[in-house]
């Protein structure tokens, strides 16, 4: 960002477009390579996680990444920041409840290279 940015018209949005495209295009190129079961896998994993946590689909990403040691399947789930409705005080749980913000559930697995 230069000091003369104010001289640019307000609609100079091409840079934003380019950044967004770089991300989406990179992701689609990765997914495009063979792994056609990914959307299905994403759905099924979501169904499992949803048994335990309130989730929405946008917060789950499944990726196959090419690394030196082969392909890595990555699962990333962003858990909700807080529970919507805290349980009434009478039913206090004995278990310690973790109260973190923006919790993450991430997993990676090496795929067998065939």
């Amino acid at each position: 960002m230069g000091m003369f940015d104010f001289l640019k018209p307000r609609s100079a949005t091409a840079a934003i477009a380019k950044d967004r495209l770089q991300i989406i295009v990179a992701r689609e190129r990765r997914v495009g390579v063979g792994a056609s079961y990914l959307p299905q896998l994403q759905q099924e994993l979501l169904a499992v996680v949803a048994k335990y946590e309130k989730l929405d689909l946008d917060l789950v990403t499944v990726n196959v990444e090419q690394r030196d040691d082969g392909e890595v399947l990555e699962l990333n789930v962003v858990l909700p920041e807080e529970r919507q409705a805290p349980p009434p005080p009478t039913t206090r749980k004995k278990k310690r409840r973790k109260k973190k913000r923006g919790r993450h559930l991430a997993a990676a697995a090496n795929l067998a290279t065939s």
Partner: protein, 278 residues
Amino acid sequence: MAKVIVVTSGKGGVGKTTTSASIAAGMALEGYKTVAIDFDVGLRNLDLVMGCERRVVYDLVSVVKGEASLRQALIRDKRVENLHILPASQTRDKEALDLEGVGRVVKELGTMGFDYVVCDSPAGIEKGAQLAMYYADEAIVVTNPEVSSVRDSDRILGLLDAKTQRAIEGREPIKTHLLVTRYSPARAASGEMLSVDDILELLGIELLGVIPESQAVLNASNQGAPVVLESETDAGGAYLDVVKRFVGEALPHRFLEPEKRGFFSRFFSPSPRSAFAG
């Protein structure tokens, strides 16, 4: 052997048919025996853009189905020698075409002495688009300076790499060319529109040419004449350059930068990004 060129994009309405008509007519003007094939079954438009809609009797589907011979179905252009059109069917459904049948047509065009076969692809990435690209030797990927178009072009490039005869048979891959159309150099310079450089960086293929956004395109299609025939217009001239580049002439790219303006108009309007970009 005829060289098969597919004009494709993924996204609809970016200028494939406009481009197919002008590339085919331009090739013919350059002396090559050329045929433009409309693969947009059910939504044919190439005949309209090329001004031969009233002469359509048979079409690609009738040839594939064996209801007409290729010679019967080919329409010879009245203005440009060497230029032929093989229209699409307006009434049949998309399932009417198959790989094998299209292969026979392409082969026969080769034996008839055609130099170039220009395939106007339908929009999308499904069967119709894949049929249009299957036998191609080279691909012209038509892209508008707009996010959805660039993304779709990238997906089409993936298909060209994987789902074409050359890819499947492990032959030398299809040659891919980028054609940026409906470009406004001034808007790109002021950062409002993705620039040709941005698109090149994202897609990573060779630039064949830039066609400016132009009144001349609508004007030409209104009259049923490929815009390349009006080579004194900006878009017409740009298409003629593209054709010449395609057949091997080394022409510098045009329409990359806004037209030079007087000192005062430049001073009082937004500066090009490069001038102030930090």
